[in-house]
Amino acid sequence: MSPSTSHSAPVTHTILSLPDQSTAKMPKRHYLNNEDGLLSWLLTGDHKRIAILYLISITFFFFIGGAFAGLIRLELLTPQPDLVSADTYNKFFTMHGIIMVFLFLVPSVPATLGNFLIPIMLGAKDLAFPKINLLSWYLYVAGGTLTLAALVLGGVDTGWTFTTPLSTHYLNTHVLTAATAIFIAGFSSIFTGLNFIVTVHRMRCPGMTWFRMPLFVWSHYAASLLMVLGTPVLAIALVLVALERIAGIGVFDPAKGGDPLLFQHLFWFYSHPAVYIMILPGMGVISEVISTFSRKRVFGYTAVAFSSVAIALFGFFVWEHHMFIMGVSNYSALVFSLLTMLVAVPSAIKIFNWTFTLQKGSITFETPMLYAFGFMGLFTIGGLTGVFLGSLGMDIHLTETYFIVAHFHFVMVGGMLMAFLAGVHFWWPKMTGRMYPESLSKLAAVTTFIGFNLTFLPQFILGYLGMPRRYHAYPPEFQVLNVLSTAGATVLGIGYMLPLLYLGWSLKYGAIAGDNPWQATGLEWQMQSPPITSNFVETPIMDHEAYDYEWLANKTQKEVTTVG
C-alpha cells in the first residue's frame, strides 16, 4: 500500500467498471501452497488456513443438520404420522437444532470469514493467539464428533434447549453425550471470541484507529463480547444438568425442591445473546457487501458501529422473554418485554443506514449483493415478528407455535445464512484466488430466496392458526400450508446444494480473480489473492477512513500512471 496520499487532485468519478480479469495472474506463492501435506494443515498456526479448516467442517455439519430438516419436512407432508414415530421425530428436531445452532450458526461467520479477515482488516500478521485459534478448531471438531457419536448411538430427544426436568429425569437418550459435546464446542466459541477481542485491542496497525476499522470488525467485536461473557454460563448450566442426571440431586427437580426455572434462566442467559452471536457477524458481512456494491461509504458509520455494541449490550437483558409463559413474575415480564422491544432500535438503525447507503449509490447486482438484499428483507420480517413475540399478550398466543419457528428461521436462515452465503461469495476470490461462476450463483441466490419464503411464510400462518411446534402429526386442515412449506424446503435444499457444487468446481476451473475484483476498499483487497502466509510484506499504515472510495480511485489512477 502506498503510504503517501495526496488529495490535491480529488477524483470525483466513481469506479463502475470492474477490472479486466483476463489479465489477472495467480500468484506463485500464497498461503495455500506455502507448505504441503496434511500435517501442515492440521498443525497450522495460520489464521487463514484455520478459517479454511473451519469452513470445511461447518459445511459438513450444515448439510447433516439440513438433512434432518429435510426429514422433518418430509414427515410433516401429511397430517398422519407415517414416516417416523413420535420419539424418532423428537430426535430429528433435536439433532437439527443442536447441529444447526451450536455447530453451524454460532461458528459460521466468525470462525470462517472472521478468522480469515479480522487480522488482515486490522493490518496484523495473525490473530493474537494462533495456537489457541487452532485449539479452538480442535475443540470444535471434538464437540462435533461427540455430537455425531450421540447421533449414531441413538440420538437425543430433549430439544436443543435441554429443558429440565425432562432432560434430567425423564429421558433415557444420550443427553450426557450431547451436553458434553456442546460444553466442549462452547469452549471453542469462547476461545474464538477471546482471540478476536485481544486482536482488536492490541494488534491494530499504525493509523488503524477504532473508527477506521471496517464495520465487519466492529460487529465481530460485539459478538465476541457475547461469546466471552455468555458461553461460560451455558457451560455451568450444562455441568449442573450433567451432575443432576448422574446423581439425581434435585437442583432442577421440583419434586425435590429444585427450581426448573433456574435452569431456564441460566440457559437463556446464554442462549438469547447467542442469537446475537449468530446474527451480528452476519450484519458485519452485509455492511461490507452493501458498501462495496453501492460504491459508497456506509451511511452513518459511527451509528452502525455503535449499534453493534448496543445490540450486544441490550441482548444481555432480554432473556426472560423466552419464559413469559413459564410463570415468571408479571412485573419482571413487563420490564423484559420493554427491553426486548428496545433491541429492535439498534437493529433498525442498521437497516435504515444500509438503505441510506444504497441511496444514490452506483449499485450493481453481483451475487453477494443479491444475498445481501435477501438478508435485508428477510431479517426485517424476522425482526419485526420478534417485536410481536416480545409483547406479552401476543407471546402467550403465539409462543410454542409455528409462528415462533418461522420467526427465528427468518432471522437465522433468512438473515444469517443469507449473510454467510453473501460473505462466502464476496470473499471467495480472496480466499481461493478464483471467481465463482456468476450467472449460476445468481440463480442459486434467487432460488434460495424463493425457496426460503415458500418454506417459512406458510409457517407464520400455521402458527397464527395455532399449530404447535414439535409435533409429528397435525389436524388435516393444516395440510395445504404444510405441503407448501415442504415444497419450499425442497427448493431451498437445491438452493444450498448449488453453491456447494459450483464453488467446488471453481476451485479448479474458476476464472483467476486478481487482487481486487470488486474494487472494494478494505485492506484485504489491496493484497494479492490468495494472500501470502504473513498477510503483509511490511506492516501497513492506515492513512484513510474505512470505505474511502476516493482514496481507492486515486490509488488506482496512480498505479495506472506509474505502470502505463
Binding site: I132, I190, L243, L262, D543
Partner: protein
C-alpha cells in the same frame, strides 16, 4: 490525515529480540500486553462460569434458609479457616515469585513456585479430609444421602433444633452446591498445580531469567483468581448465619 505517517518511525524502532518473541507481534511489549489482556478476559469468563453457581446459591439460600443454616453448621470453621490461611500464603508466595521473576532472581523464583505448590497441595489435602467427613456422615448428595442428622439431631449428639423432614430434604441442595462450588474450585486448583510443576521445570531451566516473565505473570493472575473465588466461597458456605433465626 497524513499526520499518522509519523508513526512509521515508531514501528521501525529496533528491539533486541528474545527467543520467546513470536513473529506475528510487532514488538515484545505488544506480545506481553496481548498475553496479559487475554488472561484477564479468560478470568472474566471464569467469573461468569462461577457466577451461575453463585446465582443458584443465592436463590436456594433464600428459599430454604433453615436447611442452609443447619447444613452449614456441619462444616468445620477451623478447617476452613486453616485452608483460607494456606491459600492466602500460597497467593503471597506466588506474588513474591512474580517479583522474583521480574528481578531475574532465578533461585528465589523456583523456591517461591515450590512453596506456592506446597501450600496449594496442603489446601487440597485438607479439602480431602473435609470431603471424607461428609462421606462418613452420608452428606454427599445422591443415593447415599441421609437427612437423619437433621431430622433427629439429638440421636447424633448434635445440639441443634430438628428440621421438619420436608425442610431437611433441602439440605441435599445445600450440599450439592457445596460440592459443586468447592469441587469446581478444587478442579481449578489442581489444574493450577499441574501448571506449577511445568513452570517450576521451566524456571529451573532458566527460561524466565532473561526478562521474559509473561507465563509467570499470567499464571499469577490465574492463581490469585482461584484464591479470590475461595475468599467468596468461605464466608458464603462456612461463616454467614451459622445459626438459624428463631
Amino acid at each position: 490525515m497524513d499526520s499518522v505517517l509519523t508513526t512509521a518511525e515508531h514501528v521501525e524502532h529496533e528491539h533486541a529480540s528474545l527467543p520467546q518473541h513470536r513473529h506475528h507481534f510487532e514488538t515484545e511489549e505488544q506480545q506481553r500486553e496481548a498475553g496479559s489482556f487475554g488472561m484477564w478476559l479468560f478470568l472474566l469468563t471464569e467469573i461468569m462460569f462461577f457466577g451461575g453457581m453463585f446465582f443458584a446459591y443465592l436463590l436456594y439460600r433464600n428459599w430454604y434458609y433453615p436447611a442452609f443454616a443447619v447444613a452449614s453448621n456441619q462444616l468445620s470453621v477451623p478447617l476452613g479457616a486453616f485452608n483460607t490461611v494456606m491459600l492466602i500464603t500460597s497467593g503471597f508466595c506466588m506474588a513474591v515469585g512474580v517479583w522474583a521473576a521480574e528481578m531475574r532472581k532465578k533461585g528465589l523464583l523456583v523456591l517461591m513456585l515450590i512453596l506456592t505448590t506446597f501450600f496449594g497441595l496442603v489446601f487440597i489435602g485438607v479439602k480431602g479430609i473435609e470431603y471424607h467427613e461428609k462421606y462418613e456422615n452420608h452428606h454427599i448428595p445422591g443415593a447415599d444421602f441421609s437427612v437423619a442428622q437433621f431430622v433427629n439431631p439429638a440421636a447424633y449428639g448434635i445440639k441443634e433444633a430438628p428440621l421438619s423432614p420436608d425442610m431437611a430434604q433441602h439440605t441435599e441442595i445445600y450440599f450439592f452446591l457445596y460440592f459443586a462450588m468447592t469441587g469446581m474450585h478444587a478442579v481449578h486448583m489442581i489444574i493450577g498445580i499441574v501448571l506449577l510443576f511445568w513452570l517450576i521445570r521451566r524456571a529451573n531451566r532458566g527460561d524466565f531469567s532473561s526478562g521474559y516473565v509473561a507465563p509467570i505473570e499470567n499464571f499469577g493472575l490465574y492463581w490469585h483468581f482461584v484464591d479470590i473465588v475461595w475468599l467468596f466461597l468461605f464466608p458464603l458456605l462456612y461463616l454467614i448465619n451459622r445459626h438459624p433465626l428463631h
